[in-house]
Amino acid sequence: MSRPLVLLGLLAFTLLGLAPIALMALRVDAGDLHGMFSERSSELLWRTALLGVGAALTALLVGIPYGFLVSRTDVPAANVWRVAGVLPILLPPLVVAMSWAGMTDLRGGLATTLVLGLCTFPLVALYAARAFERIDGRQEEAALLVGGLRTALKAELPLVMPSALFAATFAFVLAINDFAVPDYVSSVGPKWSVYADEVFASWRSSKDTGAAVASALPLVLLTALALWPALELRRRSLMTSFSGDFRAPATLRLGVWRWPALIFVLAVLCASAFAPLGRLVWEAGGGPRGFSSSVLQASFERAIELGRANLASSLTFAVGAALIAVPIGLVLGHALERAGTLGRRLAPLVLVPLAVPAILFGIGGIALWNRPITGAIYDSGWMAVLLFAGRFLPFVVLAIAAATAMLDPRVEESARLAGAGPARRLARIVAPALSPAVIGSGLVVFVLSMRELDAAILVPAANSTVLFRLYNAVHFGRDGYVAALALLVVFFVIAPGLLWTLFCRRRLEVLP
């Protein structure tokens, strides 16, 4: 570890991830805290917690069997479904909500919970799949000999659960902080407010930072309460990693259950990705007025014409955020893992940017950058780039730390003995050895930035993003152009990962 590099990384993390939150907290005074304990606040908090638990449970119930089936069994075309299973987390939840609202009469809390659960289930599925793959083949064979598949699963579930629960806590955090889905669902049905859109409303009506922050404190507490045990779960899930003589488990034969398993996998994918996307294609092609390819083409032409600048902005901001977050995350993630006990103690700090609602993080960004000396940054696209980089940096740090934990320390020690200094070791040995995690976490930042609305909605520069345009468009009526624009967003979000999957043999490591 290079101390100057780590200090530089910490400085950047403090500026991008912690300073917005610290500045926000400083603006709260005693008077602002009164509203925290109102009846409405309690009701919203309860509702938000229920939403989070519901979405996390949905993600768990769908994600664990999905992850198991596509990673360990002979379900037909398992590899294809494994890659396709990532699709729902790449889709902006707003886009999925738009489609489901069009296809069904589901509204209110149930619709919000289902949409957010379906959008976050891939997190659980990915973690569960990885955990199932890390079970030693001999352990599994011993359990199979004792009592068949059921006994083997019973023996393995306790090993998989820390990983799955860790992912579910992330699903919980993403759900309780989501602003766009409840807001959209409320706009097409009965009003169903949650804490995040109440914070937004509070800020929009008064522009009072202190009041907005105070009103969000219970949500911050709820998020922190979820993330704290998540770190312990993460540690346990990393402990179930390969030992020196690890033997990969064999593919499990499902027998007569093979085809029902395929139906389950396809049903999950249909509900979470294929149906919403199909609905958007149908809407872009004319929808209820009759589908035609000429209308579809016209919708895309209009979407490209009206949304071109927004797409370019979103792509620029997302790429910029990834390029900033990855080097900082590489330095800090590597240091976090290699620092041993100290690293474990500092790990909660890394999660702070995620522990505040996205809208609050956006308000913090305004408090930090909207001042005369940094006005040029605030008014430019840099504001969006820095905001996204700060918000999503924890994913990079944790993904790199997880990958570092799997890297044989002797790889670095031998470079050290060979005479390479800390910076050279990081650039020439650690980064290439961790390239699946480096590129994967960069892609995660790109994807999350592309679909980001909640933190960006208040920041003028970020108002040029394509998701902001989409958000405005769905509130002023839906037509083919809006659906086509949503499809374009989806295309650009999934394109980098798709290209990687098609042309590169190495599997990306994206899990924090």
Partner: protein, 225 residues
């Protein structure tokens, strides 16, 4: 002159003393064999000498220069002129680098002029008999080939001290004999000081100038061969 001196060296891992106190002088140009049961502290001793673990007490002197005094490291591992071959078949090799890139990396880190690097790489490849495999990565090499890459890497920067941690363990009998002889040849020609950890003294006994037996983290027997 002593190439290495250990004075009252003590190492703790997880709050438990795993090595020491150790007092030892290793004359330059000698081959010292360290033997002992598993957990006797052999690997930890090499790691402390290399500076990869910080002792809690005692001093490590390299050619009479203090490399570490208690937990304070005064010469970092990268400046100790030490080559280390790790335990295991090519353990610690850089998975993304070919044989050539690995050796090039070490030479570049030691600021060997670019013009000289190709010649040096060819010499090293010749030395460990890896000709024709220069473009291969660790994943494309057998255990024996990987171990020879590890040896070439350890020798690339002309170390004064060569630390071998069970370097022949994963190899078959013929390869063990060949590689041991080859290492001894390099040791003699370059005037290296070699510290060789093994659980099987037979593999290098003919070359050793002295044997040190460790038990429970302490020197149990030290004898000249």
């Amino acid at each position: 002159m002593n190439a290495l001196s250990l004075e009252n060296l003590r190492v703790e891992l997880g709050g438990k003393c795993v090595l020491g106190p150790i007092d030892l002088r290793i004359p330059a140009g000698t081959w010292t064999l360290f033997v002992g049961p598993s957990g006797s502290g052999k690997t930890t001793l090499l790691r402390a000498i290399a500076g990869l673990v910080a002792p809690v007490a005692g001093r490590v002197l390299l050619a009479d220069l203090v490399a570490s005094d208690g937990p304070r490291i005064s010469i970092p591992p990268e400046r100790r002129a030490i080559g280390l071959v790790f335990q295991g078949g090519g353990a610690g090799l850089w998975p993304h680098m070919s044989v050539r890139a690995t050796l090039e990396f070490v030479l570049a880190a030691h600021k060997v002029p670019r013009a000289d690097r190709a010649r040096r790489i060819a010499e090293l490849v010749e030395l460990v008999e890896l000709r024709g495999l220069e473009g291969r990565r660790p994943g494309e090499l057998s255990g024996g080939e990987a171990q020879r890459v590890a040896l070439a890497r350890a020798l690339a920067h002309d170390p004064k001290l060569l630390l071998l941690d069970e370097p022949l363990g994963p190899l078959d009998a013929r390869l063990r004999h060949d590689l041991a002889a080859r290492i001894h040849d390099v040791h003699t020609r370059r005037g290296l000081t070699t510290l060789h950890v093994t659980h099987d003294p037979d593999e290098a006994l003919p070359f050793a100038d002295r044997t040190v037996r460790l038990e429970g983290g302490r020197i149990a027997v030290e004898k000249l061969d």
